[in-house]
């Protein structure tokens, strides 16, 4: 009996394989987004509620100097909140994949290993695009306008999606490290909630007590919200946008290599 084990020929270069694998995993995650009730609600009802509740709940009390409609001030911060909430589900999903043995299966396949993560991030980006579009539509219905033209409107969406990519990687890392789906969900949500309410998202930092102002100014949600707001409202954008990109870049620089490395050693238990 001849028992030589012939390796199947590899037909495609590594990069196109990685892209193809990422595409397959992205498709898997998009199907889930469209089928899991929690995920549907998080991508549809929740963003709408955030816009409506925060606008009518706070809008009457908060008067921001130089802003006529509170919704113009509010919406950029809500983009960040909605994306942050959504990203916490990414940690949950990767922890579930670990628990159910999906990660073992993927890791035993001859695929670009990072594609399981990049495919998740790509699907998240598609979801975020949808969520931001939905929030802009709802916001517009109650008075939101881009004040600086279509170019900066596109830049707003682009920057929000970029922030979402960084959040997704952070949550992937959390999910792989904590391994438990519920813990991963909370570990993803808590920082977002705390940072959101101590940021410029709802009220100007200048209205906060002095001790909080220092923290709020350094808060990444403030930095990213201010950049998005500058793009929406008009005015100087170079400095806030570069600061936001620096935060996003730093987050990616730290989380991406660690997440990929942890993933390569992760097994179900």
């Amino acid at each position: 009996m001849s028992t030589a084990f012939a390796l199947p020929r590899r037909q495609v270069p590594a990069l196109s394989q990685a892209l193809a694998n990422t595409g397959t995993i992205t498709a898997r995650n998009l199907r889930r987004l469209a089928r899991v009730p929690t995920l549907i609600a998080l991508a549809t009802i929740q963003p709408i509620l955030l816009v409506v509740l925060f606008n009518y709940g706070f809008g009457g009390a908060v008067h921001v100097p130089g802003v006529t409609h509170y919704i113009d001030y509010l919406l950029p911060g809500l983009f960040v909140l909605a994306i942050g909430f959504g990203a916490s589900q990414t940690g949950v999903a990767v922890a579930e994949d670990l628990a159910t043995g999906m990660i073992d299966r993927f890791r035993s396949l001859p695929i670009a290993s990072a594609s399981v993560l990049t495919g998740r991030v790509a699907a998240d980006a598609v979801r975020n695009l949808f969520v931001i579009g939905l929030m802009i539509a709802v916001g517009s219905a109650i008075g939101f306008r881009f004040h600086a033209g279509p170019g900066t409107a596109l830049a707003t969406v682009g920057l929000a999606v970029a922030a979402g990519i960084a959040f997704s990687w952070l949550n992937l890392l959390l999910g792989i490290v904590v391994r438990d789906a519920e813990t991963a969900g909370l570990a993803g949500l808590f920082p977002i909630i705390i940072l959101f309410f101590t940021s410029s998202a709802l009220v100007p930092v200048a209205t906060m007590p002095g001790w909080l102002q220092a923290f709020a100014k350094a808060n990444p949600i403030t930095v990213i919200t201010d950049a998005l707001r500058a793009l929406c409202l008009g005015g100087p954008t170079t400095r806030p946008v570069s600061e936001a990109l620096a935060w996003i870049g730093a987050l990616l620089l730290i989380t991406v290599p660690i997440a990929i490395n942890r993933y390569r050693h992760a097994t179900s238990s």
């Binding site: 028992t3 084990f5 390796l7 199947p8 495609v12 193809a20 397959t24 999906m102 035993s108 179900s268």
Partner: protein, 342 residues
């Protein structure tokens, strides 16, 4: 390349903290054969499978799968293996067809080829009727079949199945055995871990028994039975009876100490000239006044091999008389064989 073994493990070791999950495992599996890896829970079966399938790096030792080093040539190993792990690893929110097509796409099949292959496997695993339902709605058995089907998408020459029939009903178990029989009939090498003797007996050409991370015996099922020797005298107490006094009565009668299954109320004694012993046994029973509900003399089963050789703390309590340390219970069994002496 001649008769290259499917799998060679040499001194594989892996510890997690203080626990030596795998503690120097050696074995060799010829190509095209079925190896049954038998052992109690926590024996190190799953860890061994994870090392062989490139999911875990061993702390010490080496392993080759299809002649390829599982650490240094992990990427190539993955192109030749299929794995179905301990859990049914299928996406509950994808349909059966989508699950299999996704795996096919990841193996580099084009969209139509991936769907065609998915269709074939669904047919073969009796899932065609449920092919377009999400896997969440499947029964445990269906999910398990889908999981095994997923490991076959790329027709791998070497297949690893970690407790594939755990959680299946008898019907599902037998159906899966038949499928695996067909597969190995076509030359696939299969490494199968199991806790079920019947499964190992039915499917495996060779068996390695693992306990506490070590190979404690290996051979064909019939070799293992011969190795533990002789026949088995089995005595059953009446319902609710205490088997320990029976074990006392049997002391010294057989070729080894009696093995007690307290829960089943059963004592099993290894013997050589069984028929001649029955007279002596009858006298002893009459003297003791103990009741026996059933008495049988039989050839050893693989289960006897397993119970004789393995000794988790729980099993030791269940199978050795309380006044006897566990090693004594095994003392008269033939020397614990290691897989491959080096």
């Amino acid at each position: 390349m001649g008769d290259q073994p499917a799998i060679v493990a040499e001194g594989l070791s892996k510890r997690f903290g203080q626990v030596r999950a795998v503690d120097g495992i050696d074995f060799e599996q010829p190509a095209g054969s079925v190896l049954g890896m038998l052992g109690p829970n926590g024996a190190g079966k799953t860890t061994t499978v994870r090392i062989l399938t490139t999911l875990l790096a061993p702390d010490a030792g080496r392993a080759r799968v299809a002649g390829l080093d599982v650490v240094k040539q992990a990427a190539d190993v993955r192109r030749l293996i299929g794995l179905s792990g301990q859990y049914a690893a299928v996406d509950p929110y994808l349909t059966g067809r989508e699950n299999l097509a996704m795996i096919g796409r990841l193996y580099g099949l084009g969209r139509p080829a991936a769907r065609r292959r998915a269709g074939e496997l669904l047919e073969r695993f009796d899932l065609a009727a449920a092919a377009d339902r999400v896997a969440r709605t499947y029964s445990g058995g269906m999910r398990r079949r889908l999981d095994v089907a997923a490991s076959l998408v790329a027709q791998p020459p070497i297949l690893f199945l970690d407790e594939p029939t755990t959680g299946l009903d008898p019907h599902g178990r037998i159906a899966l055995w038949e499928l695996l029989g067909q597969l190995t009939g076509q030359g696939t090498s299969l490494l199968l871990t199991t806790q079920y003797m019947e499964e190992a007996e039915r499917l495996a050409d060779a068996i390695v028994v693992i306990d506490h991370g070590r190979v404690i015996a290996s051979g064909t099922p019939s070799q293992l039975k011969t190795r533990i020797g002789g026949d088995r005298l089995e005595l059953q107490t009446p319902p609710g009876g205490d088997p320990w006094p029976l074990a006392q009565v049997l002391a010294g009668l057989g070729t080894g100490p009696p093995v007690v299954d307290a829960r089943a109320g059963r004592v099993v004694l290894p013997v050589t000239n069984g028929p001649a012993l029955l007279t002596e046994l009858a006298q002893r029973l009459a003297t003791s006044g103990l009741q026996v509900a059933d008495l049988a003399l039989r050839r050893p089963s693989l289960e006897d091999v397993f119970l004789t050789l393995t000794s988790t703390p729980a099993a030791a309590a269940a199978h050795a008389p309380p006044d006897r340390a566990d090693p004594a219970a095994r003392a008269d069994s033939p020397e614990p064989a290691t897989g491959r002496t080096r």
